[in-house]
Subunit: 244 residues, 2 copies
Amino acid sequence: MGYRLYYWPGIQGRGEPIRLAFEDAGVAYVDVARLPASQGGGVAAIQRILSGRDGGLRPFAPPVLVSGNRTIAQTALILHWLAPRIGLAPASERSRLTAHQLQLTLTDLWSEVHDTHHPIAVSLYYEDQADEARRCAKHLREERLPKYLGWLEAAIRGPYLFGRSASYVDLSLFQTVAGLTYAMPHAMAALMRRLPSLRALHDRVAARPRIAAYLASPRRIPFNEGGIFRHYDELDAPRPRRGR
Amino acid sequence: MGYRLYYWPGIQGRGEPIRLAFEDAGVAYVDVARLPASQGGGVAAIQRILSGRDGGLRPFAPPVLVSGNRTIAQTALILHWLAPRIGLAPASERSRLTAHQLQLTLTDLWSEVHDTHHPIAVSLYYEDQADEARRCAKHLREERLPKYLGWLEAAIRGPYLFGRSASYVDLSLFQTVAGLTYAMPHAMAALMRRLPSLRALHDRVAARPRIAAYLASPRRIPFNEGGIFRHYDELDAPRPRRGR
């Protein structure tokens, strides 16, 4: 049948949790917009899918997953639908609800992180809202991240969130820690010291053979300043003084 | 079995889509935090549910729905789970996915609306971020609302989103239009002129007998400046000049 993912070709962004799921499952997928334009790729592919294709609901924004005659948008919903089909959902219906709830809370966190560098408008450059971003980032670092990450730490039960097997939420949690560490290395170094389960889960996911291979491959787009997790020195905590 | 909803007692907020669903379905529910403290209500009830109760995942934030031994958080997920049980989900599995996708996009819109009056931090007063809010609101009015509402307009197929029967998403769409009209009456008057299906759907939902009764009852908390849709004159479009 084949899976076709439509997401911006130059960033990890909200498409990355889905790429991580396919990669970890070892399931083939076409990352459509990363194909050459001559093969139907490029940003034009995204414009095409957003304009509607089968009379169903037009997606509001990427990522969009197409499988057979289904067209699904919204990262958390795509994963909720996809994970049982590729072996990355927890077993029980109850755990699947919990997984979806966790993923939706990660969605909220990602949205807050994005708003930190774009507090006024997505349509403005960072430079046009850098002062506001600085104020915003301090609240994120000192109030929101401790709250979210502390909650996630408490949610980890086994080696993974749902015990012995990894789920798509574990992969997204890895991505959250990796992204925040890229964006705010000093703040995260201080925070993660008190979050041993989260640290261990991040490392465990990174060491999964297919994830490790993916991260080392050109398929993994490096973090950059077009995605959700962007690095600006002035938004991070100050570098700790030596000897502290 | 009984449904218990935990949400802030003084605002509509992210609990209101769930209240609307129960009210429209004519299904009894306890709005726990609105009970007197002597009956286990008040904000203490929310603190209790957020601290965890059954060894399952602790909710990150209200609203939380408790039914039997289930504890579910996240508005869109609560509705996705609840709606088929109270007759407010579309019939097919495919439509239920579409409904969930629509609701998640409304969730995104609500989050952008909330960020407009709190662009820097949820922990600061509006007055401490009013200048930034003004800049933010202009982008919401001129870029984001036309995009979101135009997309929603195009999604309406029948009298309701999924044809002849109302779903929980129709109720949330009503709430979206009602809330935005409270918050930004001038901007919405201009926008809604070009959105006839959305206008009709809003009026159709408001006229449903159980919804009309609810809106006229003391159970409906009035819009206020503690919720998502807050009215500040300076965040709305200017009052149109006469004769335009």
